[in-house]
């Protein structure tokens, strides 16, 4: 197999898929690190973001790309609202209770999506897009957008976390909540910010999944497990780790077809994860040990 074929049909799809996983995994890793529980409604929240964007496209007739910011804002707001209504009062309880609550939220979001938008498979735009040829590399516009948007959003988030007061507060909460609270950080604001960021990224993940394939009411749920694998693979609490983890999982899934039967493709994320946890329990980049 020549190298171009390898890049075109295995590596590039892997990077695109990995970028989508990364967008979800960053949110998961932030919630994990700051609020300290596994948020199981993340996939369905991503589906919601994708469908909000679809609603913008069909109702306002704008191009799908313009719908992305709207979906991000709307989903971020929904995420904050969900936290206020369903998670906030459980904050001092064992974390497992919140995990269960998030499972209930996942069912509720899915139900809302199915009632409002129906269950038919939908797309942002009809027809197919053949890739452009760049010196033998075959890349579609929307794949550029996916990867660039991911880099942009995550880069922006990284700047926010390292350069701004509130970003630093979020990191402080993640490193040592007691110390952070003692030093006067407003817990409520940090939690709200976390949900704004996680919700927004979630919407982007769902949107790009929908842009690259189709929109289905269960699309987010089936992405949940690989996204979790990516977050833990990268090292919990590490934004750049989640990106790396997402890319590794995405590329590995695509490459796996070369060696193992394709029905086991979905297992690839977990095989890597198990191997990783055995040899390096902190994740690729040194994350927190929970």
């Amino acid at each position: 197999m020549d190298i171009l074929e390898l890049v075109n049909f295995y590596i590039i799809p892997g990077i695109v898929l990995g970028s989508i996983y990364a967008l979800g995994a960053v949110g998961i890793t932030l919630v994990f690190a700051i609020l300290r529980y596994a948020h199981l409604a993340h996939g369905d929240l991503a589906t919601l973001g994708a469908f909000v964007a679809l609603a913008c496209v069909t109702a306002l007739g704008i191009s799908p790309l313009l719908a992305l910011p709207m979906a991000i804002v709307a989903t971020a707001a929904v995420a904050v609202g969900i936290d206020k209504v369903f998670y906030e009062h459980l904050r001092n309880r064992p974390k497992i209770v919140t995990v269960m609550a998030s499972l209930g939220v996942a069912l509720m979001i899915r139900s809302v999506i199915q009632v409002v938008w129906g269950v038919d498979t939908q797309t942002y735009s009809r027809g197919i897009v053949r890739p452009e040829d760049y010196f033998g590399l075959r890349i579609r516009d929307r794949e550029f957008y996916t990867v660039f948007a991911m880099l942009l959003l995550v880069g922006g988030l990284q700047l926010f976390l390292t350069r701004t007061k509130w970003g630093k507060a979020m990191r402080a909460m993640s490193d040592n909540p007691n110390l952070a609270l003692l030093s006067g950080i407003d817990n409520k604001k940090v939690v709200m910010l976390t949900w704004l960021v996680a919700g927004g990224l979630c919407a982007a993940a769902g949107y790009f999944l929908g842009l690259n394939t189709e929109l289905k009411s269960l699309m987010g749920w089936s992405m949940l497990l690989p996204m979790f694998a990516a977050a833990i693979l990268g090292g919990v609490g590490r934004v750049e780790g989640a990106v790396l983890g997402g890319l590794v999982v995405g590329i590995a899934e695509e490459l796996s077809v070369l060696w193992i039967p394709s029905e086991y493709k979905a297992a690839m994320a977990f095989v890597i994860l198990l191997f990783m946890l055995l040899v390096r329990p902190t994740g690729l980049l040194k994350g927190k040990v929970l």
């Binding site: 596994a38 269960m100 499972l103 209930g104 297992a267 994860l273």
Partner: protein
């Protein structure tokens, strides 16, 4: 007819609740006693269900078995197989704590699911195994349900008594000590790794038994039954809602959650006829909402873990929940 129908429905509900209660008890050993976050229940459920199916179903082409054995051998085989599968998994994964163990066990369960779905020589692949005999299945509809319920309840009571006995025995105290303060338990000379593995294997064997009971009740087992939602997350909801660390809570949780799960459909069927399909989506919302309400008002579970040493007082013990990491 109407009354008979309700009785049949109630019998069916009781059977399903008892089967799920077995799974919840198995999880309670792992999470409630030992603090092991096993999110791969579906995997052990599947191993048990398929083992018993292969052992007891009549011979079939294209896969190993069936061996047409007595169902008791199937059920024991299910427990043994689930325990055997749990052993290496526990050996490797129990060194991860908490959330890492959760994602690792989800991964293992997914791999088990894919193997079951793809390896047709072993499990008949995606088509599953049917014609599994149900004990006392030759009677009429209600009689056979009653007989099966008696059998399942018998199993559940025996398991409950055994687990409850262990829970109050020194072994149970030791497990909780390991859960609540691993270092202290280690300093007392307890073999933490071995004890955890023990709890993991016991719990998994019960899950395997639950899987076997499920397969025999439906007389078939297909890969769709090991969907993480209905075989893993649902059991977690049952345990947390019922009260982890409390065996009666686990059983009560199974009952409440399954009743919500099943009866919510009848509730949403009251919507006008033209919304018959939408009603099923709204049902999911209702299930999620009920879950939230119970968690809102009883976050420590319906029957919280009793405060040990004060068995008569049954004080509320919200602080030392196992998840208090």
């Amino acid at each position: 007819m109407e009354i008979l129908g309700l009785v049949n429905y109630a019998l069916y509900m009781a059977i399903f609740i008892a089967i799920y209660a077995l799974l919840a008890l198995g999880l309670n050993i792992q999470w409630g006693f030992a603090g092991l976050f096993n999110a791969g229940i579906a995997g052990f459920f599947a191993v048990g269900a398929y083992t018993s199916a292969i052992l007891t179903s009549p011979a079939a082409d294209g896969r190993i078995g069936g061996f047409d054995l007595h169902f008791t051998i199937g059920w024991i085989g299910a427990m043994v197989a689930a325990a055997l599968v749990a052993w290496p998994i526990g050996k490797i994964c129990l060194r991860f704590r908490s959330d890492y163990l959760a994602i690792a066990s989800i991964g293992v369960a997914e791999i088990i699911r894919l193997v079951i779905k793809s390896e047709a020589e072993l499990t008949n692949g995606a088509r599953g195994i049917s014609n599994i005999p149900r004990p006392a299945g030759d009677f009429g509809y209600m009689e056979s349900q009653i007989a099966y319920l008696a059998l399942v309840l018998g199993v559940l009571i025996v398991v409950y008594l055994l687990v409850e006995r262990q829970f109050n025995a020194p072994w149970g105290r030791m497990m909780r000590a390991i859960r609540d303060n691993e270092d202290a338990a280690r300093a007392m000379g307890k073999n933490v790794e071995f004890r955890r593995l023990e709890a993991f294997i016991f719990g998994s064997a019960l899950m395997g038994l639950g899987g076997a009971l499920f397969a025999h009740f439906n007389r078939s087992i297909t890969p769709e039954a090991i969907d993480p939602m209905v075989a893993t997350f649902l059991v977690w909801i049952m345990l947390i809602l019922g009260g982890s660390g409390n065996n009666r809570g686990a059983i009560l949780g199974a009952a409440v959650v399954w009743i919500i799960w099943s009866v919510s459909e009848i509730a949403t069927d009251q919507l006008p006829h033209e919304y018959a399909v939408q009603a099923k989506y709204i049902r999911l919302f209702l299930i999620g909402l009920m879950l939230q309400l119970v968690l809102r008002f009883r976050p420590e579970g319906l029957l919280p873990e009793p405060l040990r040493g004060d068995l008569n007082g049954r004080g509320r013990n919200t602080k030392s929940g196992p998840a208090n990491q």
